[in-house]
């Protein structure tokens, strides 16, 4: 015989604690009031991003609590040589009876940056899921259509070695330049945009690796390991590799993003992807590789370059430090343009490898250079003389 024991569960209670149930001071103040939106209205993106990373110059009254061994904590503004208005003002001093107020929000120009892509978790997962789903479908469709059977042997060699080698650039920069930089910038808006950029690159690296895996399964004689040897030893790739490694060695976080997204990507990344792989594939019977490479091209051209331009545009137009910033960026151009041009030129032998040739290397490089000059002029920067190299 069993008796039903009453289960112990919390009882619902009608509390009428919903918005509008009563009128009292603040009862209708339903927006985050600690920051000024970029446009008239606060956006969803701003609400979930702005001010999460604090700043002793405005609200953080007790200052940073934990420091490195040199006693500096938080996100020092001098982790880059660039400056935004207000950067040179000292942090507010605190002492017995000082009060806790800092400068009026935002206190300095770094806080004015907004990611034009408005990336937060909802958008970043949606975007990247769409990409990986689309790529999976493209590859599945290609398999069913026996698309890889049309490839000539030289093209198979080209894809296994050279398209394969590019995954290492994505992986290295994704981790050691972009993910690394997500600890360095003074606002949450910068660091979140940078971390999303990092995931694009790491995803692109994995997209290429998994595509390479599929090709090993689909194409008899496709060598799925040769991309590593190419990256490690093929002389045509050592210029790119040297430059990519030099990029990860940059100390200044703005210089790192600038050198990667303003200089390296147009002059080397797009040269390789848009002006070589995308141009050569159709003539060699390959309509699948361009869809993989195209996804990464879109990441860069439509998302990562977009936030990068917004970020540096603010600095080249800064009301206090525009000239200072432009002078430093010009120096960075003088350093990075010759390195990237040298890397691009070292890649030149790749242009003659496919049976069906892409447009001439010099024409491709000219296109990359003019695209690059266009980006510079949008940022109000001068094309450096080293571009002629």
């Amino acid at each position: 015989m069993t008796t039903a024991q009453e289960r112990s569960v919390p009882k619902p209670v009608f509390t009428d604690a919903e918005a509008g149930a009563k009128e009292f001071p603040d009862s209708t103040v339903r927006r985050y009031n600690y920051y000024i939106p970029q446009k008239r209205k606060q956006t969803h993106y701003e609400d979930v991003t702005v001010e999460v990373q604090p700043d002793p110059r405005h609200y953080l009254s007790q200052g940073w609590l934990y420091g490195f061994s040199d006693g500096r904590g938080g996100y020092p503004l001098d982790w880059t040589a660039l400056k935004a208005w207000g950067s040179d003002r000292p942090e507010p001093e605190r002492f017995p009876g000082s009060g806790g107020k800092g400068y009026d929000w935002p206190a300095h120009g770094w806080h004015e940056f907004r990611d034009p892509n408005e990336e937060w978790e909802l958008t970043l997962y949606r975007y990247n899921s769409n990409v990986v789903r689309q790529l999976n479908q493209n590859i599945a469709a290609a398999r069913q259509a026996k698309a890889f059977e049309q490839w000539n042997p030289n093209w198979v060699r080209f894809v296994e070695s050279h398209v394969g080698a590019w995954m290492h650039v994505d992986h290295g920069l994704g981790l050691y330049l972009f993910a690394n930089a997500n600890r360095r910038a003074p606002t949450n808006m910068h660091n979140n945009a940078i971390s999303v950029n990092s995931m694009h690159r790491i995803r692109a690296a994995q997209d290429l690796a998994l595509y390479n895996l599929t090709l090993s399964e689909e194409i008899a004689g496709f060598d799925g390991a040769v991309h590593v040897e190419t990256w490690n030893g093929d002389p045509a790739w050592q210029g790119v590799r040297k430059t990519a490694e030099a990029l990860t060695a940059i100390d200044d976080w703005c210089e790192a993003i600038f050198a990667a997204n303003v200089v390296f990507e147009p002059l080397v990344g797009e040269l390789f992807r848009s002006n070589l792989v995308q141009q050569a594939s159709p003539g060699n019977g390959d309509w699948v590789t361009p869809t993989i490479i195209g996804a990464e091209e879109y990441d860069y051209a439509e998302r990562d370059l977009r936030y990068t331009k917004a970020m540096f545009d603010l600095l080249t137009n800064d009301r206090e430090f525009a000239d200072h910033n432009k002078a430093i960026m010009q120096q960075w151009l003088s350093t990075w343009v010759p390195r990237c041009i040298a890397a691009a030129r070292t890649l030149q032998p790749l242009w003659s490898q496919p049976d069906s040739k892409p447009p001439r290397f010099e024409d491709g490089l000219d296109r990359a250079k003019s695209r690059f000059s266009g980006i510079l002029s949008e940022l109000g920067l001068q094309t450096p003389k080293e571009l002629a190299q």
């Binding site: 604090p54 940073w64 934990y66 061994s69 806790g100 949606r126 997500n182 995931m199 998994l210 990860t248």
Partner: protein
């Protein structure tokens, strides 16, 4: 993807890692730990091709539930007592989350195993997810809960309030100092592995009992990422253990991280769960019972103890001492009482306890009423403005405590308070272990060994210093905790929203000025200081003054 192909895919992406030939990546962060290079396995086995759609699917569930909650008028059933504490919790937690993202690169160059870096990058973006999804939940509360005050000013409040400052350790500790101490031991081995269960599982369960099922929806989704992070930490810990030279540092860091997490997380979450709930069923678990299960059994007995055989020196004494603080010394009750004492410096409303609450406390914590009952009766009596001051300035036999320089929670268990003179300043600490953290652990040498990468405790760590000598009305205005009529306070010591029953700046204007205990301490002569200390440690429990000498 099938299981088989996930394994293959994961195997394939191992080919991505490469060693530099021409330039080493920049080394921004240092550690005193040493690691020898060894072939390691990526503990996560996560490929982005399946990761992104998996997370998107989790998002669908979370946002679907959010829509449902609003359409179903969830806020007609949420307890205000509970929601008010979320103004504190949700002001704090997005920063620790995003700081965990920022912490990942600290490990890139210090742990020389590229196989681990893929997992760390995924953790980075998981943490961006956690931070923004929590900001979004708070936004939803602001828009739909009866009283938006405190939610609407959330991040400013968090940055200038002493409670925010306490919580901020649980963020800044991840991203500064010795890279391994911060991003591995403090963040993954202790904060994530031990304490996220109370944060993200126990607390949301209590939310549900108070009519809020969105907190569990969001936080269980967050917690489902946590096992990955725990694997990251475990892999790094095993590598650190492989080098005997690290054992001394591991012992130091585990002691510091454990004790600081206990001081900070148990203070906050303990208070939310015990004093923020209306669920007083006798068979619902108390915080102490939950702690015993999640922290003592699951973390200590099942996770830490088995690591002893690899040479990890486990702080058994501090685990027992944390339990002693919670069970015998009323740590959570002392903290909740302090929050309520200082309600006027906060940005949420604190509901008085009723007879029903008293009964539950007495049942779960025998002897509770004798210690705390009288004070809460006074809190209730003084909750509506009626010609008297806020409770902190009335005579209810409560001595305003000194702050712990290390954990910044006040020295509430009076008998444990210790002092030290550091850099020419007298400091108080809530416990010997917090003094050790400041005077011994966070130093450039440790037990005779050079530790040049160890971090420092910095900042104006006593909040009251900033307002020493200020009128309370000016303090609250300076912090910005005033509603849109320009005078009613955001904080209230009750839940009544009738404007006539609410405290305003005018009430505070009449109060005596705020005094900084630390400023006063440093003005004392050595004799006065000794007498002060002797008297302080005879005080309590419940903040009572020391008994007059017989």
């Amino acid at each position: 993807m099938s299981r088989q192909s996930v394994a293959k895919a994961h195997q394939k992406i191992q080919e991505l890692a490469w060693e530099p030939l021409y330039h080493e990546p920049v080394k921004h962060y240092g550690t005193d730990y040493t690691f020898s290079k060894a072939q390691k396995k990526d503990p996560l086995k996560q490929v982005l091709r399946s990761y992104f759609p998996m997370q998107e699917e989790k998002d669908h569930r979370v946002y679907g539930a959010s829509d449902g909650a609003i359409r179903g008028n969830m806020f007609r059933q949420v307890q205000e007592r509970w929601m008010e504490w979320q103004k504190l919790f949700l002001s704090i937690i997005p920063l620790p989350e995003i700081s965990a993202a920022r912490a990942m690169p600290l490990l890139f160059r210090t742990v020389p195993n590229p196989e681990l870096h893929n997992g760390q990058a995924i953790q980075m973006i998981d943490e961006v997810r956690h931070s923004t999804i929590q900001q979004n939940l708070k936004r939803l509360y602001m828009n739909n809960y009866i009283d938006p005050a405190g939610f609407n000013s959330s991040l400013r409040n968090f940055q200038n309030d002493y409670c925010g400052t306490i919580g901020r350790q649980f963020a800044e500790g991840f991203i500064t100092g010795d890279a391994i101490t911060a991003a591995s031991i403090y963040l993954t081995i202790v904060a994530e592995t031990a304490f996220t269960n109370t944060l993200f599982v126990a607390m949301p369960a209590e939310a549900a009992a108070n009519g809020d099922y969105l907190l569990p929806t969001v936080f269980h989704s967050v917690q489902s990422d946590e096992s990955r992070h725990i694997s990251n930490g475990y892999a790094t810990l095993l590598m650190a253990l492989a080098d005997e030279g690290n054992h001394q540092l591991l012992e130091r860091d585990l002691r510091y991280a454990w004790w600081n997490n206990h001081r900070v997380v148990d203070a906050a979450i303990g208070t939310f769960i015990e004093y923020g709930t209306k669920d007083r069923r006798k068979d619902r678990e108390s915080y102490a019972e939950m702690w015993r299960r999640w922290i003592y059994d699951d973390y200590y007995r099942s996770y830490l103890v088995p690591l002893e055989k690899y040479g990890l020196v486990i702080p058994h004494d501090l685990i027992e001492e944390a339990w002693n603080q919670i069970w015998n010394k009323g740590y959570v009750h002392e903290v909740a009482q302090f929050f309520a004492t200082g309600w006027l410096a906060n940005y949420w409303r604190i509901d008085p306890m009723t007879d029903k609450d008293f009964e539950w406390f007495e049942y779960k914590y025998p002897g509770w009423y004798d210690r705390y009952g009288k004070w809460w009766e006074n809190y209730n009596r003084l909750s509506m403005p009626n010609g008297h001051h806020p409770i902190v300035l009335e005579d209810v036999d409560y001595v305003y405590p000194h702050r712990c320089w290390t954990c910044m929670v006040p020295c509430l268990v009076r008998e444990d308070m210790v002092m030290a003179e550091v850099n020419g300043q007298w400091r108080t600490y809530c416990h010997e272990e917090c003094r050790w953290t400041d005077t011994t652990a966070f130093r450039p040498t440790y037990q005779g060994r050079e530790t040049p990468n160890m971090g420092q405790l910095i900042g104006k760590r006593e909040w009251e210093t900033l307002y020493h000598g200020w009128n309370w009305a000016d303090v609250v205005s300076d912090m910005g905790y005033v509603r849109d009529d320009g005078k009613t306070l955001v904080a209230q010591p009750h839940l009544n929203l009738d404007p006539k029953k609410m405290w305003t700046l005018d009430h505070l204007r009449r109060c005596p000025p705020l005094q900084s205990p630390n400023v006063l301490l440093n003005k004392m002569t050595p004799q006065e200081r000794d007498a002060f200390h002797a008297n302080y440690i005879r005080g309590g429990p419940a903040g009572r003054s020391a008994p007059a000498d017989a």
